[in-house]
Each structure stands twice: as structure tokens, then as C-alpha cells.
């Protein structure tokens, strides 16, 4: 579309402005009215640590302990999903790859549910992310091994093995829930966790997702050239000096950690990882030098705006966030599928 380096600074300016505008409007928006001036004072006090007599305690609680963590979690879990989608699409050389389509998100969910079921989540706040990471890693490596032979990834096999592994993961989650119903405390935790979303998230969750996503993002930046080269295929990449096996392994570890972190905090939210990188690639072209930071911003924008949309129009009903992203993302996925079928003559 605007595959021209002249536009790139403007596109980044727009993304950055959107990112911060949404963050600010999410801070202002909520069931209780707190004026912008008040919010400013509360933030100033929290940042600079100076006493201010004008601040009302309950307002301070709402801003600092409810809205702020919610916004940060929305921004960074969205960013994490978009970055992972971008990396998977690049590694598999396929625009249909994303954490939810390839069964990685459901693998992370299964890991998290196992952590709750075994009671590990009571021992440490890091148990759920750790188990989610392991579950995501196992799912992704199974799908990857089934779909790739001698460096070539077959798109039909990739999607089908993603579907199969997803189905297996979802079934296992249901099974664990069913057998834990006799122990209501565990069952309730599982149900509460599987609902996902951004409600009731705290700074504990921010502390899980923020470091992993930021570290993952910086690590991915080191791979931006290799990702470009991998787009051309294994032989091309190897012949210009990319250690393909090692690069793939490291990229898988990084993206799995990020999916694990975001799923353990907000649950499975589909299609952000599919749609956001795809749209950005249309706008910015295929260079990961631009796509990586753009996905960080774009993913955050997408998830936070989905959340704001829910808050604004459906504040009375408890509609899960995943419903909105799926309602927008699934038709887009079908569109891509049809487009690809037309382009290649088959699937």
C-alpha cells in the first residue's frame, strides 16, 4: 500500500499518538467520574511521591489499582499477541499463522489450568505463567514438527495440525474442569481463570506480563534481519549466513514465553496475533525492522480499543473481550483464507 520509506515515520507517529491517546482515554473512562485534573494529581503524586491534600483515597485506589494495571495489561498483552503472530507468520512463511490458530494459546491455557488443578498456583504467582509457557511450548513444537519437513512448511498441514492440537488442548481443559467439580474451590478458580479478560487484574499481573513482553521485544529486535531472511525460505537464509535451526529455536522460545505470559494474565484472546501483523505488513512492507515496533504499538492499540469499545457500548453486560476480537478477527481470517486459495489455486 504505502510500501515506501517516506511514509514510515508518519505511520509510526500515528501509531504512537493512537497508543497514548487510547491509554489516556482509558484512564479517564470508567463507571465512576473522576476528573482529568484529579487523575493528573494522583499520577503526579504516585510518580513524584509528594503529598497532596486534594487527593481522595478511593479515587486514588480506582486510578492506581484498577484502571492503570488494566490499561498496562491490555497494552502489553495485545502487544505480546501481535508480536508472536508476526514472528510465527515470518517463521512459517505463512500469513495465516498466529498463536490462536496454531494451538499455542490453547496449549498455554491447558498449562495454566493444570497449574491451578495441581494447586501450584497457590504456591507462587509465577506457577500459572510457567505452566502456560510449558503448555504453549509443547503445543507449538508438536504443530511445528508435524507441519515441517526438510525446512518446508505445508500450509494445509500446518493449519490442520493447529486445529487438532487446539481441539486436544480444549478437550483436556474441559476434562480437568469436569473432574475437579467435586472440589469446588479448584473448579471455581479454573472457571474464573478460563473466563479471561481484563477484569480484576492487579499489579501482580502487570509484573508478570510487563518484563516478559519488554524483554521478549528487545530480544526479537536482535532477530529482525534473520526474520526478513527466513521469509525467503530456509535455503536462502542459510546461504546468507543465518543459522536457521538455532534462530528458529530461539524465536520459538521467545514467542512461546510471550504467549504464555499473555495467556496466563488475560486468557485466550484470539485473532489479534493474526490480524494486527497482517494489516501492518500491508502498510509497512515486509521488513521486520519496522514491523516489530509497529506490532508492539499496534497490538496494544487493538486490544485496548476492543476493551474500550466493550466498556463504552456494552458496559452493562459482561461480554468477554475474546468475543469482540473473534467477531472482528474471524471474518478477516476467512477473508485471508479465501484470498490465498484464489491466489494459489488450492489450499
Amino acid at each position: 500500500m504505502f510500501n515506501n520509506s517516506r511514509f514510515i515515520p508518519y505511520i509510526f507517529a500515528v501509531l504512537t499518538v493512537l497508543f497514548f491517546t487510547l491509554a489516556v482515554s482509558a484512564l479517564l473512562k470508567g463507571p465512576t467520574d473522576i476528573s482529568a485534573a484529579q487523575i493528573g494529581e494522583i499520577l503526579m503524586q504516585a510518580l513524584l511521591n509528594h503529598e497532596n491534600a486534594n487527593i481522595v483515597d478511593w479515587q486514588q485506589n480506582i486510578i492506581l489499582d484498577i484502571r492503570l494495571p488494566r490499561i498496562l495489561i491490555a497494552l502489553f498483552s495485545g502487544a505480546s499477541l501481535a508480536l508472536c503472530g508476526l514472528v510465527m507468520q515470518g517463521m512459517f512463511r505463512n500469513p495465516l499463522a498466529s498463536p490462536s490458530v496454531l494451538g499455542v494459546s490453547s496449549g498455554a491455557s491447558l498449562g495454566a489450568v493444570i497449574a491451578i488443578y495441581l494447586g501450584a498456583s497457590l504456591i507462587s504467582a509465577w506457577a500459572i505463567p510457567l505452566f502456560a509457557f510449558i503448555g504453549a511450548g509443547i503445543s507449538l513444537s508438536v504443530v511445528y514438527r508435524i507441519a515441517s519437513s526438510r525446512g518446508q512448511t505445508n500450509i494445509a498441514t500446518l493449519l490442520l495440525s493447529g486445529v487438532a492440537v487446539s481441539a486436544l488442548n480444549v478437550a483436556a481443559v474441559s476434562l480437568l474442569l469436569a473432574i475437579s467439580l467435586s472440589n469446588w474451590d479448584v473448579a471455581r478458580m479454573i472457571i474464573y481463570w478460563t473466563m479471561g479478560g481484563l477484569d480484576g487484574r492487579t499489579w501482580d499481573h502487570v509484573l508478570i506480563i510487563l518484563p516478559i513482553v519488554l524483554t521478549g521485544f528487545v530480544a526479537l529486535l536482535f532477530y529482525s534481519k534473520q526474520l526478513d531472511l527466513l521469509l525467503l525460505g530456509e535455503q536462502h537464509a542459510l546461504s546468507v549466513g543465518v543459522d536457521v535451526r538455532r534462530t528458529r529455536r530461539n524465536l520459538l522460545i521467545i514467542s512461546t514465553a510471550m504467549v504464555g505470559a499473555s495467556v496466563s494474565v488475560v486468557g485466550g484472546i484470539g485473532f489479534i496475533g493474526l490480524v494486527v501483523p497482517h494489516i501492518l505488513r500491508l502498510i509497512l512492507g515486509p521488513s521486520h525492522r519496522y514491523l516489530l515496533p509497529a506490532s508492539l504499538l499496534g497490538g496494544g492499540i487493538a486490544l485496548l480499543s476492543a476493551d474500550l469499545f466493550l466498556h463504552t457500548f456494552f458496559s452493562d453486560q459482561a461480554i468477554p473481550l475474546g468475543v469482540i476480537t473473534a467477531a472482528l478477527g474471524a471474518p478477516f481470517f476467512l477473508f485471508l483464507l479465501v484470498k490465498q486459495r484464489i491466489a494459489s489455486g488450492n489450499l
Partner: protein, 265 residues
């Protein structure tokens, strides 16, 4: 100084089926070598073994005397460039961006191309006659144009040796000749080029040395014949390994095949 590329007792098997056996080769500086053989004989496999893209069952590949398995991919890429057979380029990089990827082994994760890199990229694009395509997106190029972009990328790599797998298969006759002429001139300047080729006449016309890969009577696939076009393109070899009959002529000091017909006819 040891040879830019050589291999010792190289063997490869796939699914426990031996594919190539006991290959010993030494390539000298400035040689233009064609790998010939029927479909499925193992030309691509040999090229991929030489590149270290496939792992040999036994034996070793040496780059200036150093075992390729002990070198990092970046170091290998500085010595060996490769033009693969498949040229599927679905992503919208510009031709120039793609050629610039040849400089990857010389640049760190965040380094941009220097003036010197840019010159080498431009030079490679001039040599392959694609300067006018600079800003075009590679997914909009024709097969022949894509092939020349990939060759330009390999040239930008500035490696002493270049391996090519059927580089002219998708080119029209004019660009076939131009491409081989280009590789020939590079070898005159000291580069070593090893290419898989189907067209025996073009191989005889441009290359100094032919390597015939085929299955021996004892069932072992290896190098059957290694030498000048005259030595390799004998009617015996043509019959046994290509199933063709042909008149072998001398044309302007070069061997040429005429009246080619399949043996079964």
C-alpha cells in the same frame, strides 16, 4: 594456499537409503564447473552437501582447508554464496532490499549498510542487468527477473566461491546466455563457480570442467566422470547416464552435441 572448496570421501543417505557415496573433489580458484546428470541423479544433493545445508553421513567438506562443520554460518556465507533452485518470493521486498541481503554476513544485528556495501550492491545489480528494477517489488517480477535478483544477491555476498542450482532453468535463451557469460567472466576474475546444469551444450560451451553424477553398475551413486567437456561427453556416457544418442562435434574448439535423440527411439 589450499583450495577454496574441496570434499573428502563425502557420503549421504536419506531414510537409510544411500544417495551419494565416496565423493572426493577439489575445486580450484577461477574454475567454472558444471554438475551434470539425469533428473534425480543427485546434483542438488551434492550442492547442498557442499554448502553444509545437508549433513553428510561421512566425509567432510573443506573451505580453504577448514572443516565446514566447525565454521559458523556467517563465516561460511562469506566464502560460499548460493543460488537455490526454487525462487518463490511471495513477500514484498524491493529488488534492492533483496540484493542487500547478500551483505548480511558482514553486518551486525543493528548495523546499516556502509557506503562500501551500497557500492557492492549497486555493482551486483549492474552486473546482472537489474538496475532498472531497483525499487520494484520482487513478488511482481517475472521468473527470469527474480532469478537475476537472486544471482545479484549472491554476487553482493563477495564470496570466493559461488554455487548455483539450475540458475538458468527459468530464463529465456538470451538471459540464459547472458547469465552464463556473466558467471564465466566472474571466474576469469578469480571466482570459483559450480553450477548444476541440464543443458549439456551450454555446459560444454561455457564450463572448463564437467562433473557427471550417476549410478554406477554396482548401484553406487557417485562422480562417474570428471574432466574437460571432451573427456566427459562421450557417446558411452551419454547413452548410459542420459539415455540419449548424439553426434559429438567440435565447434570452434568446443564440444557440441548434435542430432540428439532418446535411446529408446
Amino acid at each position: 594456499m589450499s583450495a577454496p572448496l574441496s570434499c573428502e570421501n563425502l557420503s549421504f543417505s536419506f531414510d537409510k537409503k544411500p544417495m551419494l557415496n565416496h565423493i572426493n573433489l577439489t575445486f580450484k580458484e577461477g574454475e567454472f564447473v558444471a554438475l551434470i546428470g539425469a533428473n534425480g541423479a543427485g546434483k542438488s544433493t551434492l550442492l547442498q552437501l557442499l554448502l553444509g545445508l545437508l549433513n553428510a553421513k561421512s566425509g567432510k567438506v573443506l573451505l580453504h582447508g577448514e572443516n565446514i562443520n566447525k565454521l559458523k554460518r556467517r563465516e561460511i556465507a562469506k566464502q560460499l554464496a548460493f543460488v537455490p533452485q526454487s525462487i518463490e518470493l511471495p513477500y514484498a521486498f524491493s529488488a534492492q532490499q533483496l540484493v542487500a541481503m547478500g551483505r548480511n554476513p558482514y553486518l551486525g544485528a543493528f548495523e546499516l549498510e556502509t557506503e562500501n556495501d551500497k557500492q557492492l550492491i549497486d555493482q551486483a545489480m549492474v552486473q546482472t542487468d537489474i538496475s532498472h528494477l531497483q525499487q520494484r517489488l520482487v513478488n511482481t517480477l517475472s521468473g527470469g527477473e527474480k532469478q537475476r535478483v537472486i544471482i545479484a544477491r549472491a554476487l553482493a555476498q563477495q564470496s570466493p566461491t559461488i554455487l548455483l542450482d539450475e540458475p538458468i532453468a527459468s530464463l529465456d535463451i538470451c538471459h540464459q546466455l547472458e547469465t552464463l557469460q556473466l558467471i564465466k567472466s566472474l571466474t576469469k576474475a578469480g571466482k570459483t563457480a559450480i553450477t548444476a546444469l541440464h543443458d549439456l551444450n551450454l555446459a560444454a560451451r561455457y564450463c572448463d570442467r564437467l562433473l557427471l553424477i550417476g549410478k554406477r553398475e554396482d548401484g553406487i551413486t557417485t562422480i562417474i566422470s570428471d574432466g574437460t567437456p571432451e573427456q566427459v561427453l562421450t557417446s558411452d556416457n551419454l547413452r548410459t547416464y542420459f539415455s540419449i544418442q548424439a553426434t559429438i562435434k567440435q565447434q570452434g574448439g568446443k564440444v557440441a552435441l548434435d542430432n540428439i535423440s532418446p535411446c529408446t527411439a
